[in-house]
Symmetry: D2
Subunit: 401 residues, 4 copies
């Protein structure tokens, strides 16, 4: 057993800090998943998920990781050989492409420098060039957790609409949902992919797909082999509040509690809080004289901030110093950012003082790990947190969609 005096700071960009109320809801005796009490729960969480995704269409809840929800999106709607357009916004886009390739899709992967969101103009150009509509789906990562760059899904939808391209729009919002504004229906998303352990404030173990009518039609026509991930059995039996196979009952207890907490705070307030914390964190990074990975203010993530360490320094040695000295977990640099960047999660069940503890730990860790920087990031962050105007500003900036 690791010794903890005081609470661990779990500031990786997911899993996030789970509220006590959610943990305690999970810590109740398991129910008969075929009985009437369960059905009430099932209806409640399915409807609650619709409200969080802002959709009238079905939401699918899998006992799985978010990875499973990626796979589900693919096997339900696409067949081997189908062409898909994906944007290489970072490591999670790379991983998703990996799954697509395992299922023998023909992936066109539009590269970025991993320091911006997807290039929507390039996507539009590719789609426009696809006169025969061979591209069956466009796949983007809403909040690229490896880079803290946001791709605004509604901009992609508008691009598709401008050229009237029938491809499905699939969005990985695993670390976006319930942290960043998200509108499954209003933004014309066909398949949204999410997981429990980020903005939803739950332990890992649930994967989500939100669907559109078009995605459902595509899945009906699709003959790809699938069973566990199949939407249709799920939707059919979900109508009774139950599931085709044993669901992760206790995580559903937790889900119900988490949705209640999100709705008590109000989703708009949740989004504003994340933007505020993103702004404060970036103010600290700037004061330290460091660079965020993300170079485009329009793409700054409210949910996490990835930070470059200067050349010749090892981000993971820094993270180790922070863990050992201050009992805080930060996210590692992933893929080509390995050793070059670290990531500060500020999403989920979080508040100003937890953020200040987090940023203090980063500032002290920079010092202990001898990463060149200026002190005073915490003061800069406090300036943001004290000022309510700043928040309003960053909101109006961020609310571009």
């Amino acid at each position: 057993m690791t010794l903890h005096t005081g609470r661990h700071f779990l500031q990786i960009p997911g899993p996030t800090n789970v509220p006590d109320r959610v943990l305690r809801a999970m810590d109740m005796p398991t129910l008969d998943h075929r009985g009437p009490e369960f059905a009430e729960l099932g209806h409640a969480v399915l409807a609650g998920c619709q409200r969080v995704f802002r959709t009238k269409q079905p939401v699918i809840i899998y006992p799985s990781s978010g990875t499973g929800a990626w796979e589900a999106a693919i096997v339900n709607t696409l067949s081997p050989g189908d062409k898909v357009l994906m944007a290489e916004t970072g490591q999670f886009a790379v991983l998703w492409r990996g799954i697509a390739e395992k299922f023998k899709l023909d992936v066109e992967f539009l590269s970025t420098d991993w320091r911006h969101g997807a290039d929507v103009e390039q996507i539009e150009a590719k789609l426009a060039a696809d006169r025969e509509h061979k591209i069956k789906a466009v796949c983007v990562v809403h909040n690229e957790t490896s880079t803290s760059c946001v791709t605004h899904p509604f901009e992609v939808r508008k691009a598709l609409n401008r050229i009237n391209h029938p491809a499905l729009l699939m969005v990985d919002t695993i670390s976006g949902l319930a942290s960043l504004e998200y509108e499954h229906d209003a933004w014309g998303i066909d398949v949204s992919i999410a997981g429990s352990q980020k903005g939803m404030m739950l332990p890992p173990g649930l994967g989500f797909n939100a669907l559109s009518e078009k995605a459902l039609a595509a899945s009906k026509a699709n003959t790809s082999m699938r069973s566990y991930w199949d939407w249709h059995d799920m939707i059919a039996i979900n109508k009774q509040g139950t599931f085709p196979y044993t669901p992760a009952t206790n995580l559903l207890f937790a889900l119900k509690a988490a949705i209640a907490m999100l709705e008590e705070e109000g989703l708009d307030n949740v989004f504003a809080r994340h933007m505020r914390h993103g702004a404060a964190t970036r103010a600290a990074v700037k004061a330290w004289g460091l660079d965020t990975v993300c170079l485009d203010p329009h793409a700054y993530s409210p949910a996490l901030t990835a930070v470059m360490v200067p050349d010749g320094h090892d981000a993971d040695a820094f993270r180790k110093a922070v863990l050992e000295n201050f009992d805080m977990s930060l996210g590692t640099g992933l893929g080509k950012l390995k050793g070059k960047a670290f990531r500060i999660g500020h999403m989920g069940h979080f508040n100003d003082l937890m953020l200040m503890g987090t940023l203090s730990g980063v500032e002290m860790g920079l010092d202990l790990a001898k990463i060149p920087h200026r002190s005073g990031g915490v003061l800069a962050a406090m300036e943001v947190l004290k000022g309510r105007d700043v928040v309003a500003m960053s909101k109006s900036k961020a609310a571009v969609a």
Copy 2:
């Protein structure tokens, strides 16, 4: 919220009653699944699972239901068109076949009357006739949860060995593991399939595969499309105590606690306890003048007992009476036993007085639902529970494998 005065009796044959200690272990803050503290946990649960399955080979832990673990066994080792031999021991065999067919396997399904285990002689005959070794796998359900009939996996292994057939032996021990004696290595099982919510005393949300070297070799040669369920990525990264994608961390906390409890009691004591409870339950059924679904004493399940209701009576009306009057959930009749049988779960975290509460509820429910029966089943059960000899006897009988 449903009103409960006192504890609900969750006597479906899974999910089972989760110990408070396991629930409380689950109810701890989520960890960084890439950090050193998690790695200790990962190593501990992977090694613990090996001890429970009694194997030196890898055990795979999925964030999934048991259904997912079925699918995993198939997609890792078999390809469309492969022939498999399955025994229709009951509804779960039927469901597993359904998955096999979705993955386009060529299933030969050996029927039973749903009141016995698999017919091992028939399996042996089929294999013997398969001179070209077209059959790639034999799939049996260890503890058929729809009928409470056990198929002894070691007998199937001996049949395979007698005729030197190279087919893989796949065993669904979802409701067998940690309730009935099970020896993955010693019995020559190639793929064992299990879930968390039965004898393992956990909430649902974890699926397991235990493997043999032969199964691993088969999976390496197998080109079927798969990603989430792929064993190889899992095994490779499990060596560091971590997982290729975010695991269901809090269920792993629970798993560690559950394995500790099983080992504190001693697996042999766990098995003996289940046999004793099976014997007591069958004594009650006999005293009521009712029939167990299972007609073969060699196949009686220690984990649950399925009971026929007399013709002209509705098992589900009876179950409803029990639920409404006594706050106890019993298992419904599945598939062709719908309405004709009910099932009493007595597996997992359970003891004599919980069993007596259960059987009392059944006896009173039979009366309230006007199912013809004799009273006194509870007395017969108490006779078994009081007598330690009876247990020893039933153990020697049951330990045929």
Copy 3:
């Protein structure tokens, strides 16, 4: 750590089985006991306690055992040398007298055979003879937990009123409150004494006093030394929802949840449930051919049943057999019933099947401990539990006050 397979049966007559919902409520972070969030909690539990005691007067909540609440009743209202009339209904009456004597009260102790409630006629006679009103208080135990004999407090009040005696009526309802009908105001009780760990379904750690205006006036006039137990500081600051010293915050969280559960079930339903379980237990005792300690049907307790073992047999050897074989705790014989009686608690968070598990454990234990008895008590209990008429009958009988 003791090994438990399945749940322990905690069938002592308190502490009782605490609902998961109550335990989980208690398992939340402690609050600032001077902050606004606490004040909401404080108001809620103080008002809730008034509803449970059925009083408009203040209820005092101490961080203490029930023993502390006994002491509080004495030191607030009585002074050394004051004469009090107490009825020796059993061991708890004896203990209460012991406290009274430590505080130098002049106790007249009216003996019983420990197999009936208090002799109200004798009390009335004593009071009638006290022309000078030297008796300052009459103290009775509502539900004598050592004998399972009820003394009906309203009958004592009527006796006091008939002869117009000004003595305070103090009632220990530690194991009565929230199990048996209780009306602090309507029955004219001056001080009610209770604890958390019985019908209130909480862990031990809270003691209660409910007061009358007359008791409050007496306490104002009383110069006895006291601080911790003093009502006045408590009442004054309780008006703000807070407490004069740090309260047992987490037990107050639990109290709020427990009151909510009692009110969701409805107190009248709670009382009816206890009467039904008392009737079923006594039917079992009768079928076993054993005697209840309580000889007066008018005094039968709905909350627990004390049972005599035949001469020459040791009740504690029997209890040990039950604990070791069936993991059930029963209550020991107290005081002069040591070794001669055991007690079955059936109060608090309880239901029919828990009772049947309990009675089955008693019946099997009688056999293992070779206590002469007839089998079939469990059948007799089931007859009561199945029949709804019986309940109605026993209610009309019991509701004599």
Copy 4:
């Protein structure tokens, strides 16, 4: 229900933040407090408390607040009219005197300015003047929670010894125990008084007395009326691991877990951690240009820091701003410091980043409440936290006793 996003910062100087492990230990089913499993627990916590108090003599555990433990110390050893010497170190000394006066002791109250610990020279002078040894006890508060001034109990013991005065030495270490070095036996303390909700990291609900042989002898000779608080019944039955009346079982579960955590960290490490956090907090206060209430470096508390607000400003308006803006509870100014000071708790289950969150909240709150101050306290605190030398220094300074 109050809305919390993220965790509340409970930085009052008690109740403190309770570790999840302790809460979860408390959240287990209540036991039979007369059974063998309980006895193991009883022995374990009684022995554990002895190790924490560093005594071989009995420790008494009451279901009570710390206030109750004050009263217990008095009623066991002293009688009405007895003379006691108390030092008015702050509000808690005043409250304790209030209890002493309710029990009609003759209190000589040595005043301080509330900005220093007790004046040990003055105490020694008073004792020296007491040639007839009328003073029966000297009572000091170890860690005066209203002022954050420490009185070193060993210095008082040395004063008593120098003049060979037989008075009992009673020490309130309610907020000292398990935060500051404490040696009941080695320092010659006769009665130590403590509570659960401070350095012990438990919810409120347990009070403690640790005793000396001399205190026990005094209590045997003392004829004061007492029952609940009586040490002798307690000590006699504690020998079997049980208690004379129903203990607060679930808080004892929690106590066992808390002692385990303290011992895993090591009490010396616990003390060093508190000193480090005290030093960091005072560095922040100094940087803000504010004054600590405590003016004597020898008396600085490692457990909390009371801070003066400049004249003309309201400490409670500041606290309200902090609570409403940052969801942090700070301690109010007590008694004559009402409105003039606030208190920052940094005791119990705590770490560097929780402290930085806390100090950031104070710094931002000072700004929002327009309390004149310089910014940068958080930077000064980080300087202390980063430097391990500073800690060693402050330890050598503080370890004067």
